[in-house]
């Protein structure tokens, strides 16, 4: 009995070893397959773009492989590039969109203006991810097969925000979805495991381990855009970031969007054919500002001087170096991102130097001792003249978001070094979410208006400082979590929403940013790219980068062009 068992075991081991030697890498031809990572973590269950949480590449974030949007946002120009539609134009409150000739669904049915109207109107009929566009438009019509018109809501005439939706709302085929649309529940529940989109790829197979797409060689856009290079696109579903990064390093993944610490070592030390957008720090184009939100209604944080002292105390260079693994320039005291095409033109270094702050612990101590007349207690923490101790304040972010956790550790450490008592706390994401939305926090890390849209940086100012429509602390808010309130800000934002002229906008943004630096409702800690754009050229070459800026460094939106540019390595 023993012997049989042992022999069996040895046989299994030997067999599998032999098998592995004989085994090629999977069954899809490697030279025709692009492996992509970082956009899907759980097992895929739904490819329904209307569902709350569909799988890649139907999930939100402008993946344009199966379903397409009217336009694709270009990070390099800050504008919308043509996709299903070729152009749009405003005339007063009316928006006219011209569709491309010859657009088709993957089942061969023509894609017309009626499909566009249908897709948008579903958001009016039901509560769906796209419903919010109906805050900004009042009507949508198909003028003919290739022309769509929309009418702006005169109470909220913000063109840039409507344009944002043009790059976000998936157009879905009316002839298929009218059959499914028997009510909201039916529409949400439909798993759509054989999605029919208008994009260049079709869903070939999916399992909890991977999602496989196959190129549609009848793609309607071939005359306009050409044919994407990879015949197959596979997204393996990793259980952890580390597993995905290992596979990327080994060349098993070609194109990754995962946070990968010290990636430069892959080419500088290990000499691997790996690259990011920039060859040097910050390696990625900054696109959002993870910040420290402050409870500005709670003593003593309600005092702007205390906030200012804290702002001077934080070691921003260290956060960029350690927490962000050099993927962030040192944070500046502005709600405008100082690097990259979309916002740089609005950034005003002069104002930031004059009204803002930077890492300067001595200055923090000066504010505390001279302006606030605080005294340092025996425990090294300052106490205000009225007896209020500066802390302990709790600073929180979700557990497992390691870059943010490290950022907060730096915040706590540098604040304590000055004499402000900050303690970190890492609840699970839903708890953090709850604390944030209800305003139940001392200090909390969050990104205002992440990702880029044509409405940036307006949207960032709005999400940080606009109080209109925000319920009081205790109730659920979806922006302005610190409940900062300033009538002047609201009127400036309203004014900016109506303007498209860049010089006039710059004046308003400058004023908004000065108010921000005076009142300090949040403290920018670092910059984060929209996507971590990482490629390994072992099997595919020609990925765009700083020297070859042929497409946006994104796996989504206008980054779809990358699929057309890359070539298999011979």
């Amino acid at each position: 009995m023993k012997r049989v068992l042992l022999t069996g075991l040895i046989l299994i081991v030997v067999f599998s070893l032999l098998g592995s030697v004989a085994l090629a890498q999977g069954t899809l031809p490697r030279e025709e397959t692009l492996y992509i990572a970082g956009m899907q973590w759980g097992p895929p269950t739904s490819f329904n773009p209307l569902a709350p949480n569909p799988a890649w590449p139907v999930n939100r974030g402008q993946h344009l492989l199966i379903y397409e949007t009217l336009f694709a946002y270009n990070l390099l120009t800050g504008k919308l590039d043509p996709l299903i539609a070729e152009s749009y134009s405003w005339k007063g409150y009316d928006l006219t969109i011209k569709l491309r000739k010859g657009a088709k669904w993957q089942d061969g049915t023509p894609l017309t203006a009626k499909d566009v109207v249908y897709s948008f109107q579903l958001g009016k009929k039901y509560s769906l991810y796209l419903s919010s566009i109906w805050d900004f438009i009042t009507d949508i019509k198909a003028k003919d097969d290739l022309t769509v018109t929309m009418t702006l809501n005169k109470d909220k005439p913000h063109k840039a925000r409507v344009e944002t939706f043009l790059g976000q709302i998936f157009i879905i085929p009316e002839h298929i979805w009218t059959k499914i649309d028997t009510g909201q529940k039916a529409l949400l529940e439909y798993p759509n495991t054989e999605p029919v989109g208008s994009g260049p790829y079709k869903l070939l197979s999916y399992s909890p381990e991977q999602i496989v797409l196959q190129r549609d060689d009848n793609y309607w856009g071939i005359p306009y855009y050409g044919k994407p290079a990879p015949k197959y696109v596979v997204h393996p579903i990793f259980k952890s970031n580390d597993a995905g990064n290992l596979a990327f390093e080994r060349g098993e993944v070609d194109f990754s969007q995962q946070f990968c610490p010290e990636i430069w070592k892959m080419w500088e030390v290990k000499k691997l054919p790996v690259g990011t957008w920039y060859k040097k720090a910050p390696y990625h184009i900054p696109a959002s500002i993870p910040s420290l939100y402050i409870n500005i209604h709670k003593k003593p944080l309600d005092n702007p001087l205390v906030r200012r002292a804290l702002a001077y105390a934080i070691n921003y260079p260290k956060i960029a170096e350690t927490a962000m693994s050099r993927y962030s320039p040192t944070a500046q005291s502005s709600l405008i991102i100082p690097v990259g095409v979309p916002e740089k033109k609005y950034f005003n270094q002069e104002d930031v130097d004059k009204y803002g702050w930077k890492y300067d612990p001595q200055k923090a101590i000066d504010i505390l001792e001279k302006q606030l007349k605080a005294k340092k207690g025996s425990d090294g923490i300052y106490v205000l003249p009225d007896g209020t101790r500066l802390g302990p304040f709790t600073a929180e972010c979700p557990y497992g978001w390691t870059d943010w956790m490290t950022s907060l550790e730096v915040v706590a450490e540098s604040a304590r070094a000055v004499g402000i008592d900050i303690r970190t706390q890492y609840p699970d994401a839903p708890v953090w979410n709850d604390h944030r939305n209800t305003g139940n926090f001392d200090l909390l890390m969050n990104t205002p208006a992440g990702g880029y849209t044509p409405a940036h940086p307006w949207l960032r100012f709005y999400e940080v400082m606009e109080i209109k429509g925000v319920p009081p602390i205790g109730q659920v808010a979806y922006w302005n979590f610190e409940r900062y309130s300033n009538k002047k800000v609201s009127s400036l934002l309203d004014a900016a929403a109506k303007i498209t002229d860049e010089t006039k906008l710059a004046t308003i943004y400058r004023e908004l940013d000065r108010i921000f630096m005076k009142d300090i409702p949040i403290i920018p800690l670092e910059y984060r790219p929209w996507h971590f754009y990482e490629y390994n050229e072992t099997y595919w070459t020609g990925f765009p980068n700083e020297d070859n800026p042929a497409a946006s460094p994104l796996h989504t939106a206008q980054g779809i062009k990358i699929f057309y540019i890359i070539k298999p390595k011979k």
């Binding site: 070893l17 085994l23 759980g42 709350p52 109906w134 381990e209 839903p430 606009e466 979806y478």
Partner: protein, 337 residues
Amino acid sequence: MKNPFARYLIQKMVWYLLAFLIAITLNFILPRLIPGNPVAVIVNQMATGGVQSDVLERLYSTYMKEFGLDKPLYVQYFEYLKNIFRWNLGTSFMLYPGKVNDLLGRALPWTIALQVPAILTGWIIGNLLGAFSAYKGGRFDSVVFTTSLVFSNIPYYCLAIILLYLLGVRFTIFPVGGGYSFGSTPTLSWRFISDALYHYILPYSSMVLVALGGQAIGMREMSIYELTSDYVNYSRNLGVRDERIIRYVFRNAMLPQVTGLAISFGTMMGGALVTESVFSYPGVGSLLFTAIRQTDYPLIQGCTIVITVAVLLANFLVEIAYGFIDPRIRAVQLGER
């Protein structure tokens, strides 16, 4: 009842049923005690772009209704009980509209196929090794004892990561994770099976090593204890043959080891969590992990029910098995004592 064993069996079953009921109630309550609202998280993902509050509120109530979270808690509880007895574990929130039954159905075979053989191999080899080294003594014993001590005392995740680093990263002998190569699709072909086996080796061996160490130590101690006991000395004096004595010793020393095996099976899913995370291996462990992190009530409940059933079933079977192994316990079961 005439048959005392049947009476014993029924008695036990009633107790286990009671334990099951308490457990599924806890399964319902505990996930709901995790602070944080799962629906708010989903709605939040749609909120990027400064969407107006009223739209989000509408979305929020749509999903609350859709997930049945708008009803009072007791209604939700009875719905849950009703569904369990129909073996319907509900719809996942995060992987909506994925059915928990399907998700578990796809994950379970992976976990079982990895854990059961690994636990059994570790247990069998460990026990043989332990008994043999206790009997043999000397240099062999000290080598086996020290290595077992090392393996059983390294925290499992450390051992797993060390193995992964050495054999997967440093020397790229084995793949670093996954159940099979990406790009291949699960089929019953030799190619796929060999690929899956290739991915199987590392997680499998890591678990065998740990189980083996613990079992060997336990068995060795028990055997040494038995070897010095009165009945062994007595048998020796009587001139009973060595093989026979070893058989007695083995059977007696075995008893706690059987409990150990049952516990290993019961806590299999918990162990699966670490193995599956480290080796990026598909299965219930990684499913449970994601579910907890996202307060996905139905999915957490589904996973914990599977675990509950596994633990209860393992214990039940062991209790029955005891009767066959140990006559003393059989006597109790049959009401003879």
